[in-house]
């Protein structure tokens, strides 16, 4: 799942769940049936899970564009000395 897809999945999950809770509450209230509310809500939750949990192709429309290997070679990284490398490693380790 790409970045856009993750954002979309979270949004969809919350919107769908709130919508199904509201719909279930209204349906239960109108029919004066508590059990009916639970059933409608359960259906909503299952639907939400089906839509947002699996990694559907729908969530992978904006793949990350990695730098091409050939392109990367044309712009080599600046060389670093051994001592500086240790310091850099330490820093990146901490930030992890």
């Amino acid at each position: 799942m790409d970045w856009q897809g993750q954002k979309r999945a979270e949004m969809l999950m919350q919107v769908l769940l709130v919508a199904s809770a509201v719909a279930a509450f209204l349906a239960g209230y109108v029919r004066a049936d508590f059990q009916f509310m639970l059933l409608v809500y359960a259906a909503g939750v299952v639907l939400t899970a089906l839509v947002t949990v699996p990694n559907w192709p729908f969530f992978n429309r904006n793949p990350l564009k990695w730098l091409d290997a050939a392109e990367a070679e044309r712009h080599p990284r600046p060389q670093v000395s051994a001592g500086a490398a240790a310091g850099g490693k330490k820093k990146s380790g901490k930030n992890k």
């Binding site: 999950m13 709130v18 947002t52």
Partner: protein, 168 residues
């Protein structure tokens, strides 16, 4: 790291919170529900009135009850527990509340009661103060919800006077 297990956990957590919110909302709506209970109860017969060996007065009664509890039911009502108490004051106690009869109403269809019953629990005093005592009959109900807050209320019904002498 955005795996399907994480999304499932997230969905489950949100779903549980929303379910709790829906139950709370249903219970909150009940607080605005104003029931109109109609009820009457009269003692028709005093079956036995005597003093137990331990010195406490004991009475068994027959009475009729008519109560319409349909208006207590909302969509969040699981059952209504209804009961009748005898209440009186005497020299020892500022309040004596003794259940005489109770009944569980499972749904609205069975909420219109017309009964003539014997006291399920005898009226037993703490001591011997019941001769000639005026006793208040009170109908109580306890609405038990599918989820949320329980509601209790009561209604004063008729008074009756116990005889001045034991029956046996």
């Amino acid at each position: 790291m955005h795996s399907w297990t994480q999304r499932l956990m997230g969905a489950a957590t949100t779903a549980a919170v929303l379910l709790a919110a829906a139950c709370a909302a249903a219970s909150a709506l009940d607080a605005f529900h104003v029931p109109a209970v109609q009820a009457q109860a009269h003692v028709t017969k005093i079956n036995r009135f005597h003093k137990q060996i331990n010195g406490n007065d004991k009475v068994t009664l027959t009475f009729n009850v008519s109560a319409n509890l349909e208006s207590l039911f909302t969509w969040n009502t699981k059952q209504v527990f209804v009961f009748l108490t005898a209440e009186y004051e005497n020299a020892k106690n500022s309040l004596n509340q003794v259940s005489l009869w109770d009944h569980i109403v499972p749904d609205k269809e069975h909420a219109n009661l017309q009964l003539e019953v014997k006291s399920k629990y005898p009226l037993i005093d703490q001591g011997s103060s019941l001769r000639g005592k005026k006793v208040q009959l009170v109908l109580h109900w306890h609405v038990m919800p599918n989820a949320g807050a329980m509601i209790r209320n009561r209604m004063m019904l008729s008074e009756f006077k116990l005889p001045d002498a034991y029956s046996s």
